[in-house]
Symmetry: C2
Subunit: 339 residues, 2 copies
Amino acid sequence: MVAQKVTSAEVARLAGVSQSAVSRVFTPGASASAKTIEKVRKAAEQLGYRPNVLARAMVSGKSGIIGLVVAYLNNQFYPEALEKLSNALQERGYHVLVFMASQSAGNIDKVVEEILDFQVDGIIAASVALSSDLSDRCRAAGIPMVLFNRVQDDAAMSAVTSDNVAGGRKAAEFLLAGGHRKIGYIAGWEGASTQRDRETGFTEALRAAGVELHARENGNFVIEQAKDATRRMFANDPPEAVFVANDHMAMAVMDTLRFELGLNVPDDVSVVGYDDVAVAAWPTYDLTTVRQPANRMVAETVDILLSKIENSDLGPRRVEIDGPLVIRGSARIPEGWKT
Amino acid sequence: MVAQKVTSAEVARLAGVSQSAVSRVFTPGASASAKTIEKVRKAAEQLGYRPNVLARAMVSGKSGIIGLVVAYLNNQFYPEALEKLSNALQERGYHVLVFMASQSAGNIDKVVEEILDFQVDGIIAASVALSSDLSDRCRAAGIPMVLFNRVQDDAAMSAVTSDNVAGGRKAAEFLLAGGHRKIGYIAGWEGASTQRDRETGFTEALRAAGVELHARENGNFVIEQAKDATRRMFANDPPEAVFVANDHMAMAVMDTLRFELGLNVPDDVSVVGYDDVAVAAWPTYDLTTVRQPANRMVAETVDILLSKIENSDLGPRRVEIDGPLVIRGSARIPEGWKT
DNA sequence: CTGAAAGCGCTAACAG
DNA sequence: CTGTTAGCGCTTTCAG
């Protein structure tokens, strides 16, 4: 009843038409008479025929595969994004080939080369930076690429992020309005544009109010390092408020504050994070944080990538999506703060 | 410096050899003289040549692609598993094509059909069940498949899980040893074998000690539903201890207990979960839970799948990996409990 | 060991 | 609209 591997030729024979007729019936933009379509469909059904995507890819040059490079799945923002990206792409007829760019930045280039071997139609690089040499190669190969949640100096590279500078600014304004003056910052990995932009916006807004950063430590976006950073920062002359470069670390910071240092959040220390991952809303953390609008970021990313695929001579696009400060209970709420 | 899309023929011309010689140099099991290899490698390097995986797949019948069907990425166990699976597969020269089987069970079959279109070498289905019709198709098509974290009645289907029955039993024994007698169970989605097995082991051990389940509610593996289940369960005659079918729900249960019902964990209620996801170890939850050894589960899954790919007439294998009860602070610890 | 030749399964002109 | 004819880029006999 079900054959091993049915080819269009076999369907053609059964349907009494040519092999190309079968192809046409299964090719979106092709035309065939109602009668042919009928015959072919019946034969195909009977044989359990489905076109071989790879063969189609070879000749058409479109594989329907999007390469997705991803680094850390432990920061919950990424599984969320990955799920949405994959769904959005699936809806538009594409599929996602995942490449983990685990550790070293060095191997990212290798990973991208492997991706290219699959003749992918496009590449989404989530939170990774690649050498300019490599981006040149992709461009030369005509493979569109868009950066997700990261920008790169390379002006020719499309990228989608939240408005990290504005986000950092919002965090600062909120903390300042709350009356805090001794304010600390726990940074993420310095190589990340998100880290840099958030810090820039944050310190700029502070400075605009005549306030200097009271303390700064680096948590590298890693939980254990964020804990260490917290310990160092609170060892002496602790701040009254901390802005943490992402939620992933912010929760570790809160844990350390509460369980190791015996401090109350927000009575003793206000904490503000960035991302608004699902756990941030859980009552235990109830984290005030700047939201990264994942849905819109994903939608933009997919839009940019697919329009580049369909129209290769589109210039690079950079989109920064503004996200609101989500006010919860981890930081003192200023009197009469406009919601 | 970098060409558009270099073919083996171009490399051959530059190297002054035949196209098939180039192929041999890049084909693992082929042989060529040192001199040829040298010439070809140099020419290839110069041109930036890399073999086209798709073309190779067409003729060799091996795509190097493994289809991975996955349903919920919000339960943290899955991103962890996905990352490990993808890494393990990458190490062995395979790549993962991800298919989100979002909602309805009905669309899983459709998803698997799409996977088949890509001529994948194998399929890993994480936490999803597919119709027996479909599994027959895969078998007929000669595509090996293994279930991850789920078993199916179909005896011909390979599957890797933790020992869920034993795990449920461990949870029960621990709670009983803690002196609890009024014990509740918050179930996961009834269609899942993991849910059934965990409950079976749990209630069996209870019964063996002459204890009947005091209360049972269904949380369907969904956070909001787990909260509702908790509310119902504690509305009147509340239990002293609860076993929750997975950590994802267990944390929602703890939140509800603490923040809505004002109960103390573990003084008022002991809570035990299942999975041992990363957050379970965070001090806020400090959840006692049965560990699913993700690393070993992944290793087994990959082993089974790849050996089937390499030797297609291997029978189905089912592996259940025993995981320890990880004792933390969310449940009363019995006096002198053997660690 | 090496080149020539025959496809893998499919799409895309090309005549009819 | 339809069948015929070329390939897509590569692996794999098959002679030499």
